[in-house]
Every structure is written in structure tokens, then in C-alpha cells.
């Protein structure tokens, strides 16, 4: 929290101040944000944090609140990956001046569309008595309803009063109720309360001296984790009534959310993050060598893997580990061309099962993995092995030293080293290279039947490809063997559990949480047959998920008060909306 405050500057300071000081959300739950005492070591939990909405979350909230026809018309700032997840990075980023301009553009665009004459009757709950004048009652009703969904909690009295006043001011100046409402709504959309997910805490009445997330924050954590979207009305109602704090109430909501089709979106969001699919945005292949790989192929490659994962883990509720061995997937015509298999449906996706001895088995052999972890014009067993260890086993592979001579591995036309195995062997004779390559190449070489875009091949430069390899003592002969080794590797499931937990809480697990994840969650995951939805359930119904360790040091109250006053002043003057 303190880190966020320091990085984000005044813009975020306003939100932090609100998070720390404002009884946002009102009612009986809000009064004890400052109630903190030391926790015992046996009670797992972590700090509440503030996270910037991801692009997908922003888009989803706008679509949920105003409909999917609303266009944004701006660009999002890049997310930052920390500890393997953008979700963790989202708690460590602020908004730059340029980024704020873009948020402002989008906010104005959205507000203009919502109040547009064509949409207002559908999207707004009331109409003013006089469209050319202010109407505080109608503005209050509108902004209260919309604000509850945008801020993921009811607006405080001060907040709603400020927004209504802003709408009235605009209506008077512009002689239009809707223009005033548009300005006020735009301000709401660019406010930190919307752009950042504040996590507000309160005293935990069931554990003396402990704190927990308040009801609205719990609702938001649940919905962003399971649905990658803001909480819906039902979830906000459960927060408002306090039902979400009861085991029965929480279970009811979790049951509902896990049964919802939106669980697939949440699952997709997690695996998109874990598998680093954001990197497809800058992935390029040498079109002279691999013309099949275009922008569409890159998009469909991601979609193939996500469909495979969602079908396998959610629809089929199957063992997570089998993702590394399954031959069942979904294809388009274009992907069929890359894999060189028939897909006779002209558009869209068809379920497909690769033949048993066809080479492809598991998501490691899909275009998304082998293409993402290859160079533009040549494969890289090293990058593939590194990704396998870092992304799927949560291990850290050291970066290469700065003075490595890559000449041998880059010369794919060297007649003395026709295959990449030969080139890597020659390269790794250097002592400084050998150590790292030993932990990446043996499994990456097993994927050499797949060229840099995922096309199947059996030779390189006319020389037969040797796909034998090893993963932590398990030897295999090909990609299918590698998939089986990953399936059986204890790090595979352990990594997933840790990643899911970090993703859910938006930060690296604290030592107490790590201990709980290892001794409890990983064990339960195995007992549950490695079912991902059940893992989600275990997390969100645990005490640990919502338990909060307060910040070790609070920002000085007088400093916060000063920042808050300054921020409020800027809001009032319109310099900061």
C-alpha cells in the first residue's frame, strides 16, 4: 500500500487517501478500517492492495454497465508483469500523464455515447423534467446507480453530492442536462475509484484484533478473480447485506459464480496472464520463411490454447495435468494449414483430435507455445525450455551473461551444424554457457519437431531431428514424452496453485500464505483430482483469501489529509476529475 502510494503520486494519492480514510460503502461494515493489531504467525493473510484495472477488465465493466455497443476509442497503458503475472504487476503500477490523457479520451467517449440521444432512453434510469436545465434528482438517481457499478460499491454521500453538483454545473453552463451529466459521468470514469481496485479493510468481528476485507472489496475480489469483471448486482447486494461475510452467504455466491458461463471468461483471463499471451502483441515471424504466420494466426493460436484449456478444465472439469498430454483441441482453417490437417468448416472453430502418433500432444505442442517461445526465423529449444521452467514450473532460469557469442546458434545455414541440437552442442562447449543450457535445452529439444510457427517437421536442413530429451531426471524421446514428464512433474501442479493464488490476491503470497498454499491448497488440489474450478472454490471459500494483514506503516494522517484536500480541490476545479 505504501509502495503504491509512493509510486502513483497525487493521482493515486487521492484514491489511497479514500481507501485509507473514507468510510466508502457506508453502513455498518466501514467503521473499522484502522483497527489493526499484530497477527499471529499461524494465521495466513496478506496486505490489501490497490490494482489498476486491466484493459480487459475496463472493457468488461463498460460493457456490463452500458452495453457492448459502447466503443472506447483510446489506448491503454501497457501492463507490467511481476513475478510471472500481470495481475501482480497491476498492483505496482500507476497512471502516467500520457496514460491519463488516454483514460480521459475514453471516459469522454463513453460518457458521450451513454448520454447520446439514441441511447439515453435505454441506458439512463430517468429523464430530466427539462432537458435544458439541471435536474439534481434525476442526476442523483443516475449517478448513484451507475456509480455503484463503476466503483464496485455505493458512492459515499460526499461523492454523490460532488458528482451531482458537477452535473448541475455543466447543465447550467451548457444549457443541457445531458451535457452536464456527460461531464460528470466522464469525471467518474477517469477517477481513481474507477480505474483502480481499492481494497478496503475493516475489523474482523470473528477474530479479535484481526482485519478482513470489507464486503464490497470481497465482492470485487471474487468477481475479478472468477469472472474477470466487476461484481454484478447480486454480488453487491450480498456485500451490502453482509451476507458475503457468512459461510452460507459466501458459498451461495461462489456456487452461483462457479456455475455461471462467466467462469470461462475468468479462467481464460487467468491462463492468458499465466501463459504470457500479452507477448503475442509484439510477436513477429519472418514472413519470407513462415508466410502462414500472420496477425490472424497469432490471434487464433492464442484462442486455440484458451479454448483447449477452458474446454478441458471448466467444461469437462478434467485433470489440469492432462492439458500436457491431451490431443483434443479446437482448430480453424488457418490453424489447420499450419498443422497441415484438414479443417473443412469454412469459418469458426471445430473440435479436433490429433492422431495418436501424429506428433502433437498437449498444449506444449500447440502453436501458441512453440511460436511464442521461438525466434522470428528459427526455433529456440533454449527459449522453449526456459518458458517451460519459468511459466509452467515457476522456476527461475538465470539470464545469459552479457558477453555471450551467439554466432554458432544463429548460423542456421552452417553445413557443419545442420540441426539446432548440433548448434547448441557446439555453443554449449563454452563453460559459461553450459550450465544454463543444461537446464533449458534438454526439454526444449524435444519440441524440435515443431518449427518456429508450430508446423510439424522431421528434419532440419535435410538432417533428421533428434527429439530425445530429459526433464529433471525423466528421459523421453519426443514431445509426447515431454508432455507426459510435465504431466507427472510435481512442480506443474504446485506452480499452478501458487500462480492462481497470486493472481487471485494480486500480489506475491506472503510467507504465511505460502505456507498455507503449500500445506493446504496444493494438497487439496491433489485430493480434488487437480480440478481447476475446485481449486478456485478452495481459494475463495478459504479464510486466508479475505484475511488482511494491515500495512506495516500507515502514511502520516496529516500528510494524507493534505493530499486529500489538494486532490479534492483539483477535483472541484476540474483539473482532476
Amino acid at each position: 500500500m505504501k509502495l503504491v502510494f509512493a509510486k502513483a503520486g497525487l493521482f493515486v494519492a487521492a484514491a489511497v487517501a479514500l481507501a485509507a480514510c473514507s468510510p466508502a460503502g457506508g453502513g455498518k461494515e466501514n467503521a473499522s478500517a484502522s483497527a489493526t493489531t499484530a497477527m499471529t504467525a499461524s494465521q495466513a493473510g496478506g496486505p490489501a492492495i490497490m490494482r489498476r484495472l486491466t484493459q480487459e477488465q475496463y472493457e468488461q465493466i463498460i460493457a456490463d454497465v452500458f452495453g457492448s455497443t459502447i466503443t472506447l476509442g483510446g489506448r491503454f497503458e501497457p501492463d507490467v508483469r511481476e513475478n510471472g503475472l500481470l495481475a501482480v504487476g497491476s498492483g505496482q503500477v500507476s497512471v502516467t500523464a500520457a496514460g491519463l490523457e488516454q483514460y480521459d479520451v475514453m471516459a469522454r467517449n463513453v460518457a458521450a455515447q451513454v448520454t447520446d440521444e439514441k441511447r439515453r432512453a435505454t441506458l439512463l434510469p430517468c429523464a430530466p423534467k427539462d432537458a435544458k436545465a439541471a435536474d439534481d434528482a434525476c442526476a442523483r438517481e443516475t449517478l448513484s446507480k451507475v456509480g455503484r457499478l463503476l466503483y464496485r460499491r455505493p458512492l459515499t454521500q460526499a461523492e454523490i453530492d460532488g458528482r451531482v453538483a458537477k452535473a448541475a454545473e455543466g447543465a447550467v453552463k451548457l444549457k443541457s442536462y445531458y451535457a452536464g451529466l456527460e461531464a460528470s459521468l466522464a469525471g467518474m470514469l477517469v477517477s481513481p475509484q474507477f480505474l483502480f481496485r481499492e481494497e478496503l479493510v475493516e475489523a474482523d468481528p470473528s477474530r479479535k484484533g484481526m482485519t478482513r476485507l470489507n464486503g464490497y472489496t470481497k465482492a470485487a475480489r471474487l468477481s475479478f478473480f472468477l469472472w474477470n469483471a466487476g461484481p454484478d448486482d447480486e454480488l453487491l447486494r450480498a456485500a451490502e447485506t453482509g451476507e458475503i461475510h457468512t459461510a452460507k452467504g459466501l458459498t451461495k455466491q461462489v456456487d452461483r459464480m462457479l456455475a455461471s458461463p462467466r467462469l470461462k471468461e475468468g479462467t481464460r483471463a487467468f491462463f492468458t496472464d499465466m501463459l504470457e499471451f500479452d507477448r503475442f502483441g509484439t510477436l513477429a515471424k519472418d514472413a519470407a520463411i513462415y508466410p502462414k504466420f500472420n496477425f490472424k494466426a497469432a490471434q487464433e493460436a492464442q484462442e486455440q490454447t484458451l479454448r483447449t484449456i477452458v474446454d478441458h478444465t471448466v467444461t469437462q472439469n478434467a485433470d489440469y495435468r492432462d492439458l500436457f498430454t491431451t490431443r483434443k483441441t479446437y482448430l480453424t482453417r488457418l490453424l489447420g494449414a499450419i498443422y497441415r490437417v484438414p479443417v473443412d468448416q469454412p469459418t469458426g472453430w471445430v473440435p479436433y483430435e490429433f492422431p495418436e502418433n501424429g506428433g502433437q500432444a498437449g498444449i506444449l505442442t500447440q502453436v501458441s507455445f512453440v511460436a511464442l517461445h521461438s525466434h522470428p526465423g528459427r526455433t529456440s529449444p533454449t527459449l522453449r525450455g526456459k518458458a517451460l521452467r519459468e511459466v509452467l514450473l515457476c522456476q527461475k532460469v538465470p539470464d545469459p551473461p552479457g558477453n555471450v557469442d551467439f554466432k554458432i546458434v544463429q548460423e542456421t545455414s552452417n553445413p557443419s551444424f545442420k540441426t539446432v541440437r548440433q548448434r547448441l552442442n557446439a555453443h554449449a562447449t563454452e563453460a559459461m554457457c553450459k550450465g544454463c543450457h543444461k537446464i533449458t535445452d534438454p526439454m526444449g529439444l524435444a519440441l524440435e519437431n515443431f518449427d518456429t510457427i508450430g508446423g510439424y517437421r522431421t528434419n532440419e536442413n535435410g538432417a533428421p531431428i533428434d527429439t530425445s530429451g530429459e526433464l529433471d531426471g525423466i528421459k523421453f524421446n519426443d514431445a509426447a514424452g515431454l508432455g507426459k514428464a510435465v504431466h507427472d512433474h510435481p512442480g506443474t501442479t504446485s506452480c499452478l496453485v501458487n500462480r492462481v493464488y497470486s493472481y487471485a490476491v494480486g500480489r506475491v503470497a506472503t510467507p504465511s500464505e505460502k505456507d498455507w498454499v503449500k500445506t493446504n491448497l496444493e494438497k487439496r488440489f491433489a485430493e480434488d483430482g487437480y480440478k481447476v474450478p475446485q481449486l478456485f472454490r478452495r481459494i475463495v471459500t478459504s479464510d486466508t483469501f479475505f484475511r488482511v494483514i494491515p500495512p506495516a506503516e500507515k502514511p502520516p494522517a496529516e500528510k494524507l489529509a493534505g493530499k486529500t484536500a489538494a486532490a479534492e480541490k483539483l477535483i472541484q476545479t476540474g483539473e482532476l476529475k
Binding site: K285, A287, A288, Y290, P291, K292, F293, N294, K296, K328, R333, L334, G336, A337, I338, R340, V341, P342, V343, D344, P346, V350, P351, Y352, E353, F354, P355, G358, Y456, R457, T458
Partner: protein, 363 residues
């Protein structure tokens, strides 16, 4: 239900598998990537250079219509836009009244385009004779090549290229239609030896699918294409492969196409040859007699847009094709209605489904 590769293959090839017995011959499928007039530019082919471009011949036409030099300059000063457009578009005359020249090319005098004078042209000896009007194919060295269409248009700037470069307007015609027009498919079956085989079968079909583009704008290779079950574009012909070059027997062929290009190709006494390339694709030539009026119309239908931008003197092409036509004489007038032609074809591997033969992509 998950479809396995085996399931799909078995389905599409069931009939063939049931009847093929112990057949071990290979069948290869392709989708046509590019199709356009086969051009062979040499200085000897056009010893007086190339025909003038549109800004030049429009001035000439305006003067022919009686405009003074100063008027011509004024009308043409904003070329390619300008006041000249309705005048040159309607430069035909019927009973002294202007008519659209593209629909009525005979209503203006022959502008006498310079035609090919040399001996190099792609194609085949279609009539079995070798005469003064025939060419030598630069690729196969075959003599007596009949390709009067190339003789007619070969010295127009747009066509003055050699492969792998493509003549610009025919390239554009094909390129503009291929994203919306069903693809053309080629199947070569009965391949026992891809280098030398004296009995293979070439089947030409239209697809019900359009191609998808790769990163270079060409057709994506190895994509599944469904064969149109309608027989109107279905042609089967025997061929031989010698030293990796497939040459077909003579055949007649109708092929439905895009109106932007030609609504229906209708080749008579045709031949095909393809080089089976190392990258799995095909490159070759289709030669045959074709009615010349549809060829003319494939250019003329674009009117002023095509004439001025591609530099094609449309009535000039009309007269050239008419004069060079060398087949199918009209019983009454004696004028030839067909012209010998040659077209360059490149194709990439494709998985064809809905055929009588099981298909495999080439690894």
C-alpha cells in the same frame, strides 16, 4: 464430437479407398494462387518500344476528334482527372454522335497498337504446325507456340514483364477478386513417381471456399479447401511427368470465374504444364484457344478507370485481338472468333475435401 484426422480423411476418401484396392499412388491437392496472362518481354519482341501510355494516346484521340492543341492542353491539364474524361470515354461515333468507346470499340478507328514482332512467348504448339506467326517458348524451347493473345498485347506497358514479375493489370484483376471469389483447385492423382510418371490424372475444380492470405498476401498453403460439387468447372485430363515437369494431353475446359475477371473461361484444344516445385507448389502454363471477345471485355468493362490507370488503349486491344485471332472462324463472315492464349498459373499445396480421392498435405 472431436473429429480425428483419420475420420475426416476416411470420410472424404471413402469411395476411392473402397475402389482403389492396393493403390499406393499419391494424390496431391493445390489451390491456385495466381493466374494471369503469360508474358515474356524482350526488346526483340517490341523493337520499336512500348505503346504510349494513356496521357499520350488521349491527346492523340482528342486531336483526332478535332480539338485544337490549346484545347487539348486545357482538357488534359489535370490528368488523370479533368474535362477530357467524358470526351475520351465517348470518343466513338455513330452517325456523327458520340458513343461509349468501351462498349462500342468499333466506332473509332484502329489506333494501330504496336504488336509483338519477336519470337519469344510462353505457351504450346496448339495446332501442331510451326509457322511465321508462331513463337518459341523460352522455358521449354518448344517451337510453333501459338499465343496470338500475347502478340496482341505484349508491347503494352502493363504487359512488358517477365516472370516472376506479374503484368500489373492482370495481377490486379486477379488480386481484387481472390478475396471474394471461390478458389480454383488442382488435383494431381496417380503419382507413382513425382519426377517421372507417364500416367497421372489432373483434375481441375472450383472450390466453394475463398483463399485466405498469408503474411505476404499470397494464398495460405496447406489450407483445407472444399470442392464445389457442381460439375460446371470440373475437368479431368491425363498427363505425364517427365523430369519433374507435368504436361497434359489436350483437353477442353470451362471454368466459372469472377465477372471482374471473366464470368466463364472456356478453353478449347488446351494443354497444361506444371513444374512440381521443391517447396510443394506448382508453377506452370495453361495454353488454349479462347473466344477473344470475352478477353477484350475483361479489360473494357473497367472503362476509363482501367484505360487511364493501366495505360490500356481499350479500342486498340479490341482491334489487336480481332486481327490476331487465329481459330474458330465464323461460318458466315470467316472471321476468327477465338485466339490462341497462354496463362501463367502458380499454386500452393492444399488439402482438398469432398473429392473422390483421399488428400494428404505434403510434409
Amino acid at each position: 464430437m472431436f473429429l480425428s484426422r483419420h475420420f475426416v480423411m476416411t470420410t472424404v476418401g471413402a469411395a476411392a479407398l473402397l475402389s482403389a484396392g492396393a493403390a499406393s499412388a499419391e494424390t496431391r491437392g493445390y489451390v491456385v494462387d495466381w493466374f494471369h496472362v503469360a508474358t515474356a518481354f524482350t526488346e526483340a519482341n517490341c523493337p520499336k518500344g512500348l505503346n504510349p501510355l494513356s496521357d499520350d494516346f488521349y491527346k492523340h484521340e482528342l486531336k483526332r476528334l478535332g480539338y485544337a492543341n490549346s484545347d487539348v492542353e486545357r482538357l488534359m491539364k489535370d490528368f488523370p482527372n479533368g474535362e477530357y474524361i467524358p470526351i475520351t470515354t465517348n470518343r466513338g461515333r455513330v452517325d456523327g454522335k458520340p458513343v461509349n468507346i468501351y462498349a462500342n470499340p468499333w466506332t473509332a478507328p484502329d489506333p494501330m497498337l504496336m504488336n509483338v514482332k519477336g519470337t519469344a512467348a510462353y505457351g504450346f504448339n496448339l495446332d501442331g504446325r510451326s509457322g511465321a506467326n508462331d513463337f518459341v517458348d523460352p522455358e521449354t524451347k518448344e517451337r510453333g507456340v501459338d499465343n496470338q493473345m500475347f502478340r496482341a498485347v505484349g508491347c503494352i506497358n502493363n504487359f512488358a514483364v517477365n516472370p516472376p514479375n506479374q503484368p500489373i493489370y492482370p495481377f490486379a484483376q486477379w488480386d481484387l477478386t481472390r478475396d471474394s471469389s471461390p478458389a480454383w483447385l488442382i488435383q494431381i492423382s496417380g503419382i507413382d513417381d513425382a519426377l517421372n510418371d507417364d500416367d497421372v490424372t489432373v483434375t481441375l475444380d472450383k472450390s466453394v471456399d475463398v483463399i485466405q492470405r498469408d503474411a505476404n498476401g499470397n494464398a495460405v498453403a496447406d489450407m483445407t479447401m472444399r470442392v464445389d460439387p457442381n460439375s460446371r468447372s470440373h475437368t479431368v485430363v491425363k498427363a505425364k511427368i517427365k523430369d519433374g515437369m507435368l504436361v497434359s494431353e489436350k483437353f477442353n475446359m470451362q471454368f466459372e470465374s469472377d465477372p471482374m475477371l471473366m464470368p466463364m473461361f472456356d478453353f478449347k484444344n488446351s494443354k497444361l504444364r506444371f513444374k512440381l516445385k521443391d517447396d510443394g507448389g506448382l508453377e506452370g502454363v495453361l495454353g488454349g484457344y479462347h473466344a477473344w471477345w470475352p478477353i477484350y471485355w475483361s479489360y473494357a468493362q473497367g472503362g476509363w478507370i482501367v484505360e487511364h490507370s493501366a495505360g490500356l488503349n481499350i479500342p486498340g486491344i479490341y482491334y489487336a485481338l480481332k486481327k490476331m485471332a487465329d481459330a474458330d472462324p465464323d461460318p458466315k463472315s470467316g472471321e476468327n472468333r477465338a485466339i490462341s492464349t497462354a496463362w501463367r498459373i502458380t499454386a500452393v499445396p492444399s488439402i482438398l475435401v469432398g473429392t473422390a480421392e483421399p488428400q494428404t498435405a505434403q510434409k
